[in-house]
């Protein structure tokens, strides 16, 4: 498994793509948010990727933590379990995606997701009034109206990696847009099941946690908080 996974571009028999976010590095610049919007053409009010700002402690001992969040691509996704149409599905590489042609827009997934990472818009809206800008018009997809949408880790890029023999998380062309855009090197993407991958090394060398792990969702987003001695 390890050797096969290390071979560039080849999908090993067991693959689990995850994202590793170094909270020590994130500065809350929201470049990943903007890159996601640009790459996926999400309408106003819909942010598949966002960075929340959490303040802790009391003056003068306070801390500010910037926490990038998106779909966690859970190993046991609550959204998949409840979806009445099987529109939500999990791929063999661990990505959770939505078939917009099957989704009925019941939003059951949206209330089942503990991370609030499902979105639904009923009507087309654009950033500057009723008419789309040229960029919005180019990316507008009517299939996304009235159905549930979310981050898919830029799955079309991952698929391109499969076709072209390049490695997601290493080669920028087949890596999620948010990871490519991160100016502080806080975001990393790769295969958790490959012990030689970038993300496996980061998880070995650093202390991390996953959000709401107690709910049994097995989220695929790891937050680094400190190095290991």
């Amino acid at each position: 498994m390890g050797q096969a996974g290390h071979e560039r571009g080849r999908i090993p028999p067991v693959t689990r793509y995850i994202m590793v976010i170094d909270l020590r590095r994130c500065i809350g610049c929201q470049t990943c948010t903007a890159a996601c919007k640009q790459a996926n053409g999400t309408p106003p009010g819909v942010q598949w990727r966002r960075v929340v700002d959490i303040e802790t402690g009391t003056y003068p001992d306070v801390r500010r933590t910037f926490v990038p969040v998106s779909c966690m691509h859970c190993g046991d996704p609550p959204c998949l379990e409840v979806c009445p149409t099987q529109a939500t599905f999990k791929r063999d590489d661990g990505l959770v995606d939505i078939d917009y042609e099957l989704c009925i827009g019941c939003a059951y997934c949206a209330v089942a997701c503990p991370y609030q990472q499902r979105f639904k818009v009923q009507r087309a809206t654009f950033a500057y009034g009723g008419e789309p800008s040229p960029a919005e018009a180019a990316q507008f997809d009517p299939a996304r109206l009235g159905v549930s949408t979310k981050c898919n880790f830029c799955s079309e890029r991952i698929d391109a990696g499969r076709r072209t023999g390049r490695t997601p998380g290493i080669d920028p062309e087949v890596t999620p847009a948010c990871v490519n855009s991160c100016i502080s090197g806080a975001l990393h993407f790769g295969d958790r099941d490959d012990p030689q991958s970038n993300v496996s090394r980061l998880l070995r060398d650093n202390e991390s946690f996953r959000m709401h792990q107690e709910l049994g969702t097995d989220p695929g987003m790891y937050y680094l908080v400190d190095g290991r001695p």
């Binding site: 402690g57 979806c83 827009g105 019941c106 991370y115 969702t217």
Partner: protein, 286 residues
């Protein structure tokens, strides 16, 4: 608010979804009552069916792609929404059959399907893992108890309006008992939300509503008691029925709309920043 980590109220399921739980639960309860009274009158049964249909119609108006509604049947393996939809078909068929042909078994088959329907609805709420106030296991007995109380209340009202002579003497006692069970189930549920660590705002909303529900339930039980003590006071039983149904519907509205706070975002640990060590996590807004 895109940048907020605190639990916020879900906006995906609005009054139309709430109406599915309100009408569907009450309608299923009415169908169980209709079987229990074994009345030749088809009134309560038809009222129950109409309510279930209204609930399904409301949810049809809620979904984003109503013309694909048939896709809802595709995931019986794990989705309680699919199971609710599957049960609804034989329920409507058996209910119409019971209303048309009567007989001894069809009303009871309808009642069994109605129980399965209200159970599916309760499990559907519990399956929403993103909403702590819904996912608590005690929501299941509570939704069943309130559905039966509401349905019995509406069944009694339907009988009083359509065929008062058919109202059995024990109906008031049954109603009072079910309302009492509903109240106890609600208190047990509310008491379980604290240990289950539900968001404070959700618990506040439900704690405020607890007083209103208790007042309505006590009033319903007193009105039913008048009917038990003095069988001639059928109107008192009718008032108790209306109160039981109204209180249950109001509770479901509060649960689905007002107490439905998301899980929120949280940190298990706060990271090192330059120097020092990690610190305890944070859960804003709880």
């Amino acid at each position: 608010m895109p940048g907020s980590a605190a639990p916020r109220r879900q906006g995906f399921w609005d009054w139309r979804a709430a109406c599915n739980f309100m009408f569907g639960g009450a309608g299923a309860g009415t169908l169980v009552y209709a079987a229990a009274v074994s009345s030749p009158s088809t009134g309560p049964g038809l009222v129950g069916l109409a309510l279930v249909c209204c609930g399904l119609l409301c949810v049809w108006f809620e979904i984003g792609r109503p013309w694909r509604a048939m896709n809802v049947f595709r995931h019986a393996h794990s989705s309680w929404m699919t199971r609710e939809a599957i049960v609804s078909l034989p329920l409507l068929g058996a209910g119409l059959g019971a209303a048309w042909y009567g007989g001894r078994w069809l009303p009871w088959i309808t009642a069994a399907l109605a129980l399965a329907y209200v159970y599916s609805q309760a499990r559907m709420l519990q399956g929403a893992r993103g909403i702590p106030a819904w996912r608590h296991p005690r929501v299941v007995p509570l939704m069943i108890a309130t559905g039966l109380a509401e349905g019995t209340g509406l069944g009694i009202v339907a009988q009083l309006l359509l065929d008062p002579a058919e109202l059995p003497g024990w109906a008031a006692l049954l109603l009072a008992g079910l309302v009492l069970i509903r109240e106890l189930a609600f208190l047990a549920y509310l008491g379980g939300l604290g240990p289950a660590d539900a968001p404070a705002r959700a618990r506040e909303v439900l704690a405020q509503f607890a007083r209103r529900l208790a007042a309505l339930d006590v009033a319903a039980i007193i009105a039913a008691a008048f009917g038990i003590i003095e069988p001639g006071l059928a109107w008192a039983v009718g008032v108790a029925g209306l109160l039981a149904a109204f209180a249950g519907g109001w509770f479901k509205f509060v649960l689905v709309i007002r107490a439905a706070y998301h899980q929120g975002l949280a940190l298990s640990l706060t990271p090192v920043r330059g120097f020092g060590t990690t610190r305890p996590g944070a859960r804003p807004g709880w």
